[in-house]
């Protein structure tokens, strides 16, 4: 049973936690207690947990290092089973009752890790570029290496079960988007909100206030945290302001588009009780105020990764915000005044500051005086050059250094301590600005990169712009908020004396040994990149910072180098004898912190992933047992198996029904475009290969559309409804593309042609029935049209009444049989289908799907654009010379390309039929075709099988294929060598296998 005494590092009072609400959590199988308001990290520190994981490459013990997004070590495996979440940072997990977490690595445990010993030996064998150097050869060893590395490396594991939670997205629009709710962000949002603008303010933490929540300053006479609370309350009360806490703006994209992830219920438990667990806000903002703040920079010294080495500001935050002191005897190392405030906070918390180790030779000023007055030992002109201890800090090795921070100038002494707080200065959070393509710029005054010029409507306020005082952040926030809102700032701020002395720009702390021999000096904790590693990379000739990054893997972790990158760049600059400004910086890509795939997917998953389009007859198909095939977004009946039937048996039955009696197909999905205007014919002449000038009302014609390169792009039948009125059909998948194509030519090249196009795909439902008995079926339903073969010919259409419904009847055929397509307004589509099925019952009318349609059309050698063609076949390649108009006035789209040398050569691939030598064989679609399978590899390739089916009516397999010079190779034998070793022989033949004279559909 846990007790409060377990929280040995918890202060009796202070902080923003609620001591009346104790919460129990489990870490690595052991129960602990924390309080409402804790993060997992603060609760772990309160309980004296030092080691939270093992490092990536060397398996060194690591402890909590920061307090927010910058944390590189404390990656957790949160929860178990299907609920588990890999790799959230303990510093950003709000504690809830019953929380369970384990270390993401370390075996058998984070405390005792076998890999540490491998790391200790292997470290020398794993220099930067290790992967490139080692795994280049021998090639066959890669599988062995990889298995080893994958097992040893990496962090958390994703669940293999379905995520029980849902995630969603909202599209948001605002006048002013404020990123960050620290002093600058709050001040900006207040101004924009008071100006009446639509404002969104987002902050990753559970409460607004940022650094103010851990500050002891005052703002206009009010305690900083209290001011933050009242500012947040004022914003929350404004109807025009949306306050999003627990919301990380993870990406800043083009034209002021931002992605923000809101963790709606993560603080309550592992899964949401109702609604979505996380929500992405897709925000389009007119103006953006970036008030993302700054992250503290560590210093690079020997063994600086030992548990017990922490960022100075984080130590202060744990004390002031969470009432937790991470150590009892603390050494503060600082290059600037901020470490002094931490030392004062530690002292105020009743713990010992062993010394402030200031790298500056003569620090002076307000805070230094205060530290002296508090009796704290100040060792100016000194640095901690090495942390000592095996699994946690026990001593700090401190030595005097020269003013430049490059040389040790005296004998090191060892100071006993359990915490080293490191203040290396601040790095503005330039990440979001980088996302938009803006390159950070070096600012010498603050020795840091700040966001560079942006092409977006972006304003910077506060620490993100290098303004580190609270009053400066507030004033800048107010100004930028007002600027973004087009108003004047309403408030000015006073925070008392915030004066600080000059900071020293120091990154790598010298050691008594050279970098290559000193104990490891870490730059990037997540990828175990050391100063020595960077030095080696530079020595090997990697000078561009982007190359150094990739060679060493610096900044590649889930923390994206938030703390390590600047130090790495500074070390590179020094090695190369350049300034940091000259060396430059890498830039950051989204996401600022990791975003779950669940949130990325939102609700666009499962059956909502892609719209399923249905025809009016869809319910009938479902009721009658159809299996469905995706055609574009359409669900089309594939075939209708009866009980006990195999697929092939069902297809054979459906095919024979059409050949011998009558079958019915839902053809509603064909694209339909209504074309009106006196230039409609001329337009058709230009976009189709054949002539349309003389097509009379009541007639239909098949057309082929080409792209300008002469290649087949779409096909379909177009009917002349009236002199200036046509109905074009397209392939089911090509409807939208064809309409766009027509519109493009009309709008961009031929606006003078008087023609309008309107999509009527959804307006008309199409029942296509086909077979020798088709006329008898229609005759039962229609008595106002002369259906005789003489009066209503193949490729005619008639307006008539079918089953009492006004319909357009087209006599066109894709099966080779006598066929009618009855088009009715889709509201009556299902009714019409049912009437035809009922009328056909006496003839055994059989519904058939796309697969049977494919077999029937292949028996006739009719192509399917997109299956038998792939954008590389001309009409001539397809054997369709007959459809190319020779005497058209206008040089129709694609025509000129026919005479290009490549298009007109004789050895192009041609579409032909293939008849397998073994009649029982069905060639696999996609099979490669060769002239001689005994040729050594690589053998000559002729083409491939595009369509292949068993033809029940012919009693043998049939195929369509593209074959080089195929039209000149009729009767030749070719071969399909298969992966399983079989070689199938086939004879090249005409693609028309059935009724080559077309007597049946003319019947």
């Amino acid at each position: 049973m846990s007790t409060k005494q377990d929280q040995c590092h918890r202060l009796e009072q202070g902080g923003r936690i609620d001591r009346s609400q104790p919460l129990t959590f489990t870490w690595n199988g052991k129960q602990y207690q924390g309080y409402k308001g804790d993060t997992l990290a603060s609760a772990m520190l309160a309980n004296g947990i030092k080691i939270v994981g093992r490092s990536f490459k060397y398996s060194r013990p690591r402890g909590i290092f920061g307090h927010g997004a910058e944390e590189a070590n404390a990656l957790m495996q949160l929860g178990v089973g299907k609920e588990t979440i890999p790799n959230p940072r303990a510093t950003q997990i709000e504690l809830f009752d019953g929380l369970t977490a384990t270390a993401t690595n370390g075996w058998p445990s984070a405390d005792f890790d076998l890999m540490e010993w491998v790391g200790k030996i292997g470290g020398k064998m794993m220099p930067p570029g290790f992967y490139y150097k080692t795994f280049m050869w021998p090639e066959k060893m890669w599988m062995t290496y990889e298995k080893f590395i994958r097992k040893a490396a990496g962090y958390g594991k994703a669940s293999l079960e379905a995520d029980p939670d849902i995630y969603d997205k909202l599209n948001r629009h605002c006048d002013v988007m404020v990123v960050g709710a620290g002093p600058a962000g709050l001040a900006a949002a207040l101004e924009a909100g008071r100006a009446g603008k639509r404002v969104i303010i987002a902050d990753e933490q559970d409460e607004f206030g940022g650094s103010l929540l851990a500050s002891k300053q005052t703002i206009n006479g009010q305690a900083a945290a209290a001011w933050a609370e009242s500012a947040a309350a004022e914003l929350a009360a404004m109807d025009n302001v949306l306050c999003l806490s627990r919301t990380t703006v993870f990406g800043y994209y083009d034209h002021n588009f931002l992605g923000a992830l809101e963790r709606r219920t993560d603080h309550e438990g592992m899964t949401a009780k109702s609604g979505s667990r996380q929500r992405i806000h897709r925000i389009r903002a007119h103006e953006v105020v970036l008030a993302a703040g700054a992250l503290e920079r560590p210093l690079v010294f020997a063994n600086n990764d030992l548990p017990g080495v922490m960022l100075s500001g984080s130590v202060a935050t744990y004390i002031n915000r969470y009432g937790v002191v991470p150590g009892n005897r603390c050494v503060v190392m600082t290059t600037n005044d901020s470490g002094y405030q931490t030392a004062l906070d530690i002292t105020a918390a009743g713990r010992t500051v062993v010394a402030i180790v200031d790298t500056r030779q003569q620090p002076e000023g307000r805070l230094i005086e205060a530290a002296r007055a508090a009796g704290i030992v100040i060792k100016a002109g000194h640095a901690v050059i090495e942390a000592q201890g095996s699994k946690q800090v026990t001593d700090a090795l401190v030595a005097p250094i020269d003013a430049a921070g490059e040389q040790i100038t005296g004998k090191p002494v060892s100071l006993s301590c359990d915490l080293i707080a490191v203040a290396g200065g601040w790095s503005p959070v330039v990440h979001l600005s980088c996302h938009t393509g803006s390159r950070p710029q070096w600012n010498d005054t603050i020795a840091a990169f700040v966001p560079g010029p942006s092409v977006q409507r972006q304003h910077l306020a506060g620490a993100v712009n290098g303004e580190y005082t609270t009053v400066g952040a507030l004033q800048a926030g107010a100004q930028m908020g007002a600027l973004a809102a087009g108003s004047e700032a309403t408030t000015s701020y006073d925070c008392g004396d915030e004066s600080v002395g000059l900071a020293q720009a120091l990154y790598l702390v010298p050691h008594t040994k050279p970098v290559s021999r000193a104990p490891k000096q870490f730059v990037d904790f997540q990828n175990d990149v050391t100063a020595a590693g960077i030095e080696l990379a530079n020595r090997e000739g990697f000078e561009s910072i982007e190359h150094v990054k990739r060679y060493t893997a610096m900044g590649f972790g889930t923390d994206q180098g938030k703390t390590g990158n600047i130090n790495g760049m500074a070390i590179t600059a020094k090695n190369l004898g350049k300034t940091i400004a000259e060396t430059g910086t890498t830039i950051f890509r989204p996401a600022y912190t990791p975003v779950t795939f669940g949130a990325m997917g939102g609700r666009d998953i499962g059956e909502l992933l892609d719209p399923a389009r249905h025809t009016a007859m869809h319910p009938w198909h479902v009721e009658n047992g159809a299996l469905f095939e995706n055609v574009g977004q359409w669900k089309r009946p594939w075939y209708y198996p009866k009980a006990g039937e195999t697929m092939q048996q069902a297809l054979n039955r459906e095919c024979m029904a059409v050949r011998n009696s009558v079958g019915i197909l839902d053809a509603s999905t064909l694209g339909k475009i209504d074309i009106q205007g006196r230039d409609a014919r001329e337009f058709l002449n230009r976009v189709y290969t054949n002539a349309w000038s003389k097509l009379a009302p009541g007639k239909c014609r098949y057309g082929l559309m080409l792209k300008e390169d002469g290649m087949v792009f779409d096909d379909g039948v177009t009917a002349c409804l009236d002199d200036n009125h046509f109905l074009m059909t397209t392939t089911s998948g090509g409807a939208a593309a064809v309409l766009s194509w027509l519109e493009m030519w009309h709008q961009t090249e031929w606006p003078e042609l008087e023609v309008y196009f309107t999509s009527v795909t959804d307006q008309w439902a199409t029942c296509s029935f086909s077979g020798p008995n088709a006329r008898k079926v229609l005759a039962k339903l229609c008595d106002d049209v002369d259906l005789s073969a003489e009066a209503f010919k193949f490729m005619d259409w008639r307006a008539g009444t079918v089953a009492g419904v006004k319909a357009r009847i087209f006599r066109i055929s894709f099966t080779g049989e006598l066929a009618y397509e009855v088009n009715v307004p889709a509201n009556q589509g299902l009714y019409m289908w049912q009437q035809i099925v009922a009328a056909g019952a006496e003839f055994g009318i059989t519904p058939y799907g796309t697969e049977t349609m494919h077999v029937l059309r292949a028996e006739k050698g009719y192509i399917i654009v997109g299956q038998d063609t792939d954008g590389s076949l001309t009409p001539q390649d397809c054997g369709m010379h007959w459809i190319v108009g020779k005497n058209k006035d206008f040089s129709f789209l694609g025509k000129r390309s026919f005479t290009r040398p490549d298009t007109s050569r004789e050895d192009r691939k041609h579409l032909v039929g293939l008849k397998p030598k073994d009649p029982t064989v069905v060639l696999p679609e996609g099979a490669q075709i060769v002239p001689d399978p005994k040729q050594p590899i690589p053998m000559d390739m002729l083409g491939h099988v595009t369509s292949s089916y068993w033809s029940e009516c012919l009693g043998h397999g049939i195929a369509l294929a593209t074959v080089k010079s195929g039209h000149h190779k009729m009767g030749d034998t070719v071969y399909c060598p298969l992966a399983d070793g079989r070689v199938l022989a086939a004879e090249i033949c005409s693609p028309v296998f059935y009724d080559p004279k077309g007597e049946r559909h003319n019947d």
Partner: protein, 96 residues
């Protein structure tokens, strides 16, 4: 995610509503049959693909279905102007 002003709908719309339609101001030759293969090939296959200012066509596919022109910087994605079909760009990168 681009934010594009449709010159026909006369307001800003989200990129989801649009589709890209290639380089603008490439007129179809009036008499293709009189062109050499090289000239025709140039028209069919070759595009400028610049780094920087680019005049391109977009289609307001989910909106008014009009094609229009956009002057966009391919490096920064800044859209300098959009203009109707048949109009000429005012931002060309050339000094006046």
């Amino acid at each position: 995610m681009l934010h594009i002003y449709c010159p026909y709908c006369e307001e800003m719309r989200e990129e989801e509503e649009f589709s890209y339609a290639g380089e603008a101001h490439i007129a179809r030759p009036l008499d293709p049959e009189s062109l050499t293969d090289a000239q025709w090939g140039d028209y069919v296959f070759f595009r400028t693909n610049p780094r920087g200012l680019h005049h391109e066509m977009w289609n307001h596919a989910a909106g008014c279905r009009r094609y229009f022109n956009v002057t966009r910087d391919t490096q920064t994605y800044v859209i300098h102007e959009t203009y109707k079909m048949g109009e000429q760009p005012s931002v060309t990168g050339e000094k006046p």
